[in-house]
């Protein structure tokens, strides 16, 4: 069964994961779990299915539960389908003091969804995350792997208007 599971990872993904495995001692394959989950997620359009989590576990010879613990711990892994553009708003302390509430409020209004939801047209997913390490220019969000900082409602509109 684990052989079959592994096949859910594309050849390309497996080669990519192998590069990460090679960075660690051979008996420490599990150290590559975070990279492997990211790669599996990218292969699947931005989210991890239960089977993909099992595939990663089989590939790294880990307990499925241990992989699932990692996948459910970090906010960059998605366990449900996400929209084309994923907006991760930081609401941790620095951002909160600098007005992340307003950022969230504006995004929710403009997109018509709440935190943790995806728009009906599957274009946007909005989620709340903890500190992303950009406190100097708070408030901020991450959109499709780019950081956008010093956010204001106007700036947000401009960013979103520029998307396809």
């Amino acid at each position: 069964m684990s052989e079959k599971m592994i096949e859910l990872l594309s050849g390309e993904s497996r080669a990519d994961i192998d590069r990460w495995i090679a960075k660690y001692p051979p008996e420490q394959k599990q150290s590559a779990v975070m990279a492997a989950l990211r790669i599996a997620q990218e292969q699947n359009g931005g989210w991890l299915t239960e089977e993909l989590i099992q595939a990663v576990a089989a590939y790294l010879a880990m307990e499925v539960m241990a992989v699932y613990e990692v996948a459910s711990f970090y906010s960059m892994y998605e366990l449900k389908p996400v929209g084309k553009h994923k907006i991760s708003v930081c609401t941790n302390i620095s951002c909160m003091l600098c007005g992340s509430d307003q950022v969230v409020e504006h995004l929710q209004q403009r997109l018509g969804i709440k935190l943790g939801e995806t728009t009906a047209d599957n274009r946007f997913t909005l989620k709340e995350v903890e500190c992303l390490g950009a406190c100097v220019n708070a408030p901020m969000f991450e959109l499709n792997k780019n950081y956008y900082e010093n956010l204001t409602p106007e700036a947000i509109d401009a960013i979103l208007d520029g998307l396809d």
Partner: protein, 781 residues
């Protein structure tokens, strides 16, 4: 030793130990939840915070190594303030449902809250509610009560060997769950009930049935495998309510198997015999003890002594085995046997006094090379497997020669999966002899001619030889093999050639005690030569004995050859059964049913695989008129007018037996096989005894029977064999073995070797079929 000071008291602590451990050893209690001496340190609950001099913040004592000159304060105002704050945080999300919680009265959180909690909560906000997953028939969950100590998670990872429970999510959302709502299937799963400090994980069968303060605890010993697991049986007004683990570092540490924990649920099974019964004109009638016993004696007296046979259950107590054989020998018959799961007795005179592990149980952990032969050790002897798992974690190489690629809780360093266990062992022996000039018996030199040695045989041989402490362990599959005598002979030689210990993982609950008590046709108590060699069970069945006395056995389930056993019982003219239960078949073939107490309701003793005698008293009241079997046997002895049945207590019986065992003879010279047996050609059945089919009690424990381990009602083949036999796409098949046959679903199982058909013994579906390693036929259903 490291010198430290705790609360001003000088303490000499072990180097590398944690402050909490040092305090424990010095008798100073530090509160804790997540710490457990048998698990890795998580330091996640923070209940053990203490003040350490020159350290600005309180430190978790469980994760703070001692250092020379360290001064710790466990009861200073700062330490207490820290402990009280932690308690307040733990209680924030804990429900106030103690009145309906099974843990109430024995809850570590409740106890600590009494010492460290506030009277009134300052927290007025909503509490967390957590989904409680269904973990199967054994463990009940109430996850809102969980305090995230992760003991249950660490248990699965570190001891059970399956990480079934985990802690997904983060922060406020972290919770204990299984992956995709899976049931928890480990054979050791029930230990999390003992480990969970709160009422998040509790026993499902015990749920809502009693309160801890109503219970009386009794120390007893589990009779379902050769370990002699120490258990505590809690009863209320004489009724067994639950079983929990009892610590015994040398035997079971603090763990027990699910079989030990939940078998008590069979005590009130509907098959339970409550009154003596006799069959008159084919109709069962309840009667008083006098009538039943005289009927039994008269019935047995109608035959010549040598026409009588006695069969005993492996798990009967020493006292019962001892009195049974005394009774039979007193009557004049040595036709006595308990080895119903074996079929090869050619070397019985050359065997040691009892089937022994040959080393202390705890020493298994120190082995660095182990070869398992014919053993699904994890399901046969769960706690011995646990010891081996520890050895593997410490770097040991465990290898197996098995007829099924059984799932172990550790990775096997080498394995040979084959039906022909004898040839596999011979190949290992041959590998050991390569380049060695050691003298070996002639029969071995002849036997290894033409045996093909592969790399894996050499690897097994090399690992055994290189091991500083190595063992060859024979499991139930080897003991029950048709060529078991040869397997033992070759295994013994492998052990002596490689410098390994030889050990037997004896089947059943008290095989060692049964042998020592003389419940054997060729040896009396204490291994003395029997006056007159009696018949083993196979010979009894073949001789068509007309009269049988059964002690605790259901031969059609307990005998490896169910077909022969059922036929022998049905054809016998008079069968007396001393048993706690009566099966449907037994009601048909028996003539007198004498209701016996189970191990839980009688005083007695068992001998475990390392030769330890462990006694116990009755913990619950036997139902109806059921009596301890040793008393029934004593009265039978009196009625037969035989000397030696004057004992007033089980202890007196035990004392006699112990005196007989004081001087055990040395193991005789080894048995020499003549030629090696060959397995029949064609499809062969593999018929091991599943974990929850080992004895009459376990077979009736409803919660165990609904676990994944009991889901075995299938005929299994590997895909190659299925293809060859034309069964690839068949859903159901008929297995024919001799005169018996059964139709069951067909399952492809790649753990099996070619030409093997796997269908376990001991199931009601397989009553009436022959034994393992015998030819079978498959047809379309």
């Amino acid at each position: 030793m490291v010198n430290i000071e705790i609360n001003g008291k000088p303490v000499a602590a072990r180097e590398g130990s944690m402050l909490l451990e040092a305090a424990d050893e010095a008798g100073i209690t530090i509160p804790r939840f997540c710490y457990h001496s048998k698990l890795s340190i998580a330091a996640s609950c923070r209940m053990c915070l203490v003040e350490v001099e020159k350290v600005p913040k309180p430190l978790p004592a469980c994760a703070t190594p001692v250092s020379e000159g360290m001064k710790a304060y466990t009861r200073s105002p700062r330490a207490i303030a820290a402990q009280r704050s932690v308690m307040e945080f733990l209680l924030i999300n804990h429900p106030l449902d103690c009145p309906i919680c099974d843990q109430g009265g024995e809850c570590e959180l409740q106890e600590m809250a009494l010492g460290y909690g506030n009277d009134v909560s300052r927290y007025a906000e909503a509490k967390r509610v957590v989904h409680s997953p269904d973990l199967g028939p054994l463990i009940a969950t109430d996850m809102s009560r969980c305090i995230h100590c992760t003991r249950c998670v660490r248990f699965g990872e570190e001891i059970g060997g399956m990480m079934e429970l985990g802690a997904p999510g983060r922060g406020e959302h972290m919770h204990i769950a299984t992956y995709m709502e899976h049931s928890v299937d480990s054979e050791l799963s029930g230990n999390v009930v003992d480990l969970c400090p709160v009422g998040a994980l509790t026993s499902k069968p015990y749920r809502y049935s009693a309160r801890p303060w109503e219970l009386q605890s009794h120390h007893t010993v589990s009779p379902h495998d050769c370990v002699g697991t120490n258990i505590r049986l809690d009863s209320r007004s004489g009724r067994a309510m639950r079983v929990v683990a009892r610590d015994n570092e040398a035997v079971n540490e603090c763990w027990i198997a699910d079989r030990d924990r939940f078998s008590y649920t069979a005590l009130e099974h509907e098959d339970r015999l409550r009154k003596p019964q006799i069959k008159r004109d084919g109709v069962w009638q309840e009667c008083d003890w006098d009538t039943a016993l005289t009927t039994a004696v008269e019935g047995l007296k109608q035959f010549a002594a040598d026409q009588l046979g006695a069969l005993a259950a492996y798990g009967a107590t020493n006292e019962e085995h001892f009195l049974l054989q005394r009774l039979m020998r007193g009557i004049g018959s040595a036709n006595i046997d308990h080895r119903l799961r074996q079929q090869d007795f050619r070397d019985q005179n050359e065997q040691g006094p009892y089937p022994a592990l040959g080393q202390p149980i705890a020493a298994l952990e120190q082995n660095d090379a182990v070869l398992l032969v014919g053993s699904n050790i994890r399901k046969e002897q769960p706690l011995l497997a646990q010891r081996l798992r520890k050895a593997v974690r410490g770097g040991a190489r465990v290898m197996a020669i098995n007829p099924v690629d059984y799932a172990m809780a550790f990775t096997l360093a080498e394995k040979r999966i084959a039906l022909d266990l004898v040839s596999e062992l011979l190949a290992v022996a041959k590998a050991l002899l390569e380049g060695s000039s050691e003298a070996v018996p002639q029969w071995l030199t002849t036997a290894i001619v033409g045996v093909a040695v592969e790399e894996s045989h050499r690897a097994i041989a090399g690992t055994l030889r290189a091991g500083k402490q190595a063992s060859v362990l024979l499991g139930a599959g080897a003991q029950g093999h048709p060529a078991a005598a040869e397997l033992r002979a070759v295994a013994n030689l492998i052990a002596s050639l490689s410098g390994a210990h030889i050990g037997i993982l004896a089947e059943g609950g008290n095989a060692a005690g049964a042998a020592l008590a003389g419940c054997l046709p060729h040896r009396g108590a204490g291994c003395q030569a029997s006056d007159g060699i009696g018949l083993d069970w196979k010979a009894m069945f073949a001789a068509k004995l007309p009269g049988y006395l059964l002690l605790g056995v259901e031969p059609e389930y307990d005998c490896i050859d169910s077909a022969a056993a059922l036929q022998a019982m049905q054809e016998a003219r008079f069968v007396v059964a001393i048993n706690s239960y009566a099966s449907v078949a037994m009601r048909d073939y028996a003539d007198v049913l004498l209701p016996a107490a189970t191990f839980a309701e009688t005083a007695g003793s068992l001998v475990n695989t390392e030769g330890q005698w462990q006694g116990f008293n009755g913990a619950a009241t036997a139902p109806g008129e059921a009596r301890p079997a040793w008393k029934i046997l004593r009265v039978l002895g009196n009625l037969f007018d035989i000397n030696g049945f004057e004992q007033n207590s089980a202890e007196e019986v035990r004392a006699e037996l112990e005196a007989a065992c004081a001087q055990l003879p040395a193991a005789p010279a080894a048995w020499q096989p003549k030629a090696m047996s060959r397995l029949p050609a064609g499809l062969l059945r593999i018929a091991d005894v599943p974990i929850y089919a080992v004895d009459a009690m376990v077979r009736r424990a409803a919660p165990l029977q609904t676990t994944a381990d009991a889901d075995l009602w299938q005929i299994r083949l590997n895909s190659v064999t299925a293809e060859k036999a034309g069964f690839s796409s068949v859903v159901e098949a008929r297995l024919i073995q001799g005169a018996g046959e059964v139709v069951l679903p067909l399952l492809i199982d790649e753990r099996l070797p070619d030409n093997a058909v796997y269908l376990p013994a001991g199931l009601s579906a397989t009553v009436g079929l022959g034994g393992g390693f015998a030819a079978v036929e498959l047809t379309h259903a």
